[in-house]
């Protein structure tokens, strides 16, 4: 079984008692207990401002399958940001230096994960861990 894990440490001193949270997730295929995600794609893109791009396309074969997505905005100017959108719904703004991690579920084929850059050309890095992706037949 392929093994992929994502660990997080979250620390904060905003409260009078300090907050320290850890977590670790092992990526499994949807609805399984011992069958790890076995496919991945990764990339780095420079996103010009103003246009919404499909970062990850929802596909029929991916509907209700497990996906874990990591996106980091590598822009060094923290006024730069990308808006992350799923199925036309704005999720939030990922500013320069920020990262996000989510279990992206395609509940239908319109559930694309889109991204739009603002202020300047943003550089992002991303990784998707998933299952059940097949190559397109030549000519599709």
């Amino acid at each position: 079984m392929a093994t992929t894990t994502a660990a997080v440490t979250l620390s904060s001193d905003l409260l009078s008692g300090s907050l320290s949270v850890t977590g670790s997730s092992t990526f499994m295929k949807a609805g399984t207990t011992a069958d790890g995600l076995n496919q991945m794609r990764m990339g780095r893109n420079e996103i010009p401002t103003g246009t919404s791009f499909d970062l990850l396309d929802a596909t029929a074969s991916g509907v209700d399958k497990a996906n874990k997505v990591y996106i980091a905005n590598l822009s060094t100017d923290n006024t730069y940001y990308v808006i992350v959108i799923i199925d036309a719904k704005v999720i939030g703004r990922l500013y320069g230096g920020d990262w996000m991690f989510l279990p992206w579920n395609m509940d239908d084929v319109t559930h694309d994960l889109e991204i739009t850059a603002y202020t300047g050309t943003n550089t992002i890095e991303w990784v998707k861990f998933h299952e059940n992706e097949t190559l397109l037949t030549q000519g599709d």
């Binding site: 440490t9 409260l15 997730s25 499994m28 609805g31 279990p103 579920n105």
Partner: protein, 141 residues
Amino acid sequence: MATTATISIASDIMTSFGGISNSMTLTEAGGTQDLKETTGYSRKKLASASKVDLFVMANTSVTSADNVAAKVFIKNIGNGATPSIIAKDKGVKVFINSVELGILYGGDWLMVPVSTVDAEDIEVQPESDDAVVLEYVMFYQ
């Protein structure tokens, strides 16, 4: 007054993948000032396959706006028993204003930036009636 989050990803899916390690300090939108507000760390036990609100933006002190910084962390810690049984095949769907983000199976977590516009609530819905406990927090400006 700082809040930091560090992620580490390791995988043997591809032999050439060297892993990811990245840290961020949670700051206000477009600036370097630390986020100063939080909902506090909370815990909720769910035991039915009904959709419930986790964060109601209108009920928080957060400004209703899409241009402020906010980050949400949610973790599925299992059924909350002692010891907690973490079922990797039982999930909780997470939504933003009824649009599904994804499914947190036992042990899974997420950390995402969110809009704090009123009505852009964070909702969750277990896939079954089995008990599941979520821990969650939001940081915002």
